[in-house]
């Protein structure tokens, strides 16, 4: 009996060994690294950027080329967010898997009901993406769709562990949908609130929470705040404005300057997973962002 059990275990381990093959996943943002870990706990996951880096301005560094060379799967936001560096990494890493044709490229925006698409874009409009707003780490309601698509992609790349991915995906979606109710209830006081933003980073979060960004510290998307633009914002009627919202990776001078003149409180949100201590994974990112939005602080 003892002998049989150990034989069974050995045979079991032999069968299990194909699934011990760990997928190597390269992500463009820490949010997708978190999502990948939640869907493929055994995978070797790397994020090319941190929450403190502007994702439009990443250098195609030697270290990133080396990492991408080894990737089985590349997960990025897409909609041209990474257009200034991802194509160079793909070209230089010579990884045929990490391309659309190779099947190992997953753009999250392709699985999101993208907001603010433009039929006509030219550069006088600033850094506007024709494909719509790419900051989809805050597309709370779409995360279920993203999870389904990512699960299918993982199963396609690593068929031996199909059942594991199915289970992890279902578990993620179950938890996420539960949390969505918790977050919605908690964020009730935020419904209808108007804010001044800095870039369109929180477009999806505000839309989901029923908030509205009525002004932007940037004169045009991607164009840094200018004195004349801030001066015009300081003259706005702010009786209906709740707060000035910016991200931990952005400089605070523009927001502070305006807050002192308009006497508006400020909220500093994580841009991505890791942007604050509490935003340690995708759940924490949304939860912490709502907590921070609920408690604006005044600037003196």
């Amino acid at each position: 009996m003892h002998f049989n059990l150990s034989t069974l275990l050995t045979v079991g381990m032999l069968f299990a060994s194909p699934s011990a093959f760990a997928l190597n996943i390269f992500t463009c943002q820490p949010d997708w690294a978190s999502l990948a870990k939640l869907h493929a706990p055994d995978a070797d996951v790397f994020s090319a950027t941190t929450a403190f880096q502007d994702p439009h301005y990443i250098q195609a560094r030697p270290s990133l080329i080396t990492k991408m060379r080894k990737a089985d799967l590349v997960i990025c936001s897409g909609a041209e967010l990474e257009v200034g560096w991802l194509p160079e990494l793909q070209r230089q890493s010579r990884n045929t898997k990490a391309t659309a044709a190779g099947g190992g490229l997953f753009f999250v925006t392709e699985h999101v009901a993208v907001l603010d698409k433009h039929d006509h874009v030219d550069r006088s409009m600033g850094d506007v993406h024709a494909g719509g707003n790419p900051h989809v780490q805050f597309a709370v309601a779409d995360m279920v769709n993203i999870s389904v698509a990512l699960t299918a992609k993982l199963q396609q790349l690593d068929p031996a562990s199909q059942a594991d991915y199915a289970k992890a995906g279902e578990q993620f979606r179950h938890q996420w949908q539960q949390q969505m109710q918790v977050w919605k209830a908690k964020a009730k006081p935020l419904v209808g609130k108007h804010v001044v933003g800095y870039h369109t980073t929180y477009r999806y979060l505000f839309a989901w929470l029923g908030m509205e960004q009525v002004a932007d510290l940037e004169p045009k998307p991607g164009v840094s705040p200018t004195m004349s633009h801030l001066a015009s914002l300081s003259k706005l009627d702010t009786r209906d404005t709740y707060a000035i919202v910016y991200a931990t990776h952005q400089t605070n001078d523009a927001a502070t300057w305006l807050a002192q003149r308009n006497h508006l409180p400020v909220v500093v949100l994580p841009q991505s997973v890791g942007g604050t201590d509490a935003a340690s994974d995708l759940f924490g990112l949304i939860n912490n962002s709502i907590d921070l939005l609920l408690t604006p602080r005044s600037v003196n």
């Binding site: 270290s63 080396t66 560096w85 230089q92 045929t96 993208v114 550069r123 850094d127 840094s224």
Partner: protein
């Protein structure tokens, strides 16, 4: 029942739209345009940017995937010189997209991988012109017809090797019967990050030019650089290097810094390169007074972008060389003599970046050449529109 059917069809319709909108259609090639105009007071040695108003490196580029295995790039360059406009084909190459083991092959006309600056387009530079040693030994940037094979090794740090075989016609010292494949070159590149804020890259290059040394016994024996353009000149200015030799060696180092790796608000780049040209001339010439078998030079530059829209840069460069005076072959012996010369430059530039796609730059260069100090002032714009290819490190 009907209501449920309607709702699900609406849901399907929405999902269908999401899919249809993001499915990319076959689009035309990426077209990019670089406009480079300048006003300059004075002229730099070994340069083809003249005094006054002019157009620098005005580029029109086309690129696209040919299929799943090849990509094609075509770049033509327009430059104005003393009232006439020249058109030059700078790049016309294909490269593989699907070779295994991190390998790639490029064929056609392309920028050689030698050194750090050479493989970059000049619109990426932080200065109006490349350093003196680059202008003298590589003609500013060396591109040629040939083939390149390269490999990115599966190491934990960045390690890449490339090999090139090129026609070498631009670097021909004036051979009557030049080798068909004149130039072979190789490069080793290393790189890594140090923490979140620092990145570096190191390159070692070697280039063998079979037609590079000053040959004795031909019909056209003449001295190295009798009048700054012993190579293929087009009416008084040169595109090729002024100095060639049998072997060219290069070492380059680049370091970049941005606080927490966030390049948007501020960052610094430091680059330095050393170039050493060896085996410059045949024996009867090298026995002449003042003759040397090698020339060399270096530069170091720092670029500091201190806000999203302003950057300052400074560069020091030096090129130690020899100049021939009335050097020529005569039967079985040579005449003339050589003198030591140095070109030393100190540059300062201030640039305003209207966005990621536009730069207006003012530059002052102090040039120390032929025992004379000159100040050269340049005002330049570089604006790009259309597709804008991502830049390499």
């Amino acid at each position: 029942m009907k209501k449920i059917w309607l709702m699900s069809s609406v849901a399907l319709g929405v999902a269908g739209n999401v899919a249809a909108d993001t499915l990319s259609q076959i689009k035309g090639p990426d077209i990019s345009v670089v406009l480079d105009g300048f006003y300059q007071d004075g002229e730099r040695a070994f340069s083809h940017r003249g005094e006054g108003f002019g157009l620098g490196h005005t580029e029109v580029g086309l690129s696209a995937s040919v299929d799943d295995k090849f990509r094609g790039v075509l770049t033509s360059v327009f430059e104005s010189h003393h009232g006439s406009t020249e058109i030059e084909l700078e790049e016309a190459f294909i490269e593989t997209l699907a070779l295994p083991y991190g390998t790639k092959v490029k064929a056609g006309r392309f920028l050689s991988n030698f050194g750090y600056l050479n493989s970059k387009h000049t619109h990426e530079d932080a200065f109006t012109e490349r350093p003196g040693v680059y202008r003298a030994l590589l003609g500013g940037h060396y591109y040629d017809d040939g083939i390149q094979a390269s490999i990115l090794l599966p190491t934990d740090f960045y390690l890449a090797l490339s090999f090139e075989a090129l026609s070498g016609k631009k670097m021909d010292a004036g051979f009557d019967d030049p080798a068909t494949v004149g130039v072979y070159s190789g490069k080793l590149s290393l790189g890594a990050d140090v923490g979140e804020s620092h990145s570096w890259m190191l390159g070692l290059s070697v280039l063998r030019n079979g037609n590079g040394h000053m040959q004795f016994g031909g019909d056209h024996d003449h001295g190295a650089d009798d009048d700054d353009d012993h190579d293929h000149d087009h009416g008084g200015h040169s595109h090729g290097p002024a100095y060639t030799g049998r072997m060219l060696y290069g070492a380059d180092f680049t370091w970049k810094w941005a606080p927490q790796g966030n390049y948007k608000y501020q960052h610094i780049r430091f680059t330095s390169e050393y170039l050493y040209l060896d085996d410059v001339m045949d024996a009867p010439f090298s026995a002449l007074e003042g003759a040397k078998d090698s020339v060399s030079g270096y530069y170091g530059e720092v670029v500091y972008q201190f806000t999203p829209s302003w950057s300052v840069s400074t560069r020091f460069s030096r090129f130690d060389h020899i100049e021939g005076h009335d050097v020529h072959g005569h039967g079985d012996h040579a005449h003339g003599h050589f003198e030591n010369e140095k070109l030393q430059e100190l540059d300062f530039a201030l640039a305003w970046h209207s966005s990621h796609f536009g730069v207006i730059r003012g530059q002052v260069s102090q040039q120390d050449y032929h025992g004379e100090k000159n100040n050269i002032v340049s005002l330049q714009y570089i604006m790009t529109f259309g597709a804008h290819a991502a830049h390499a490190f």
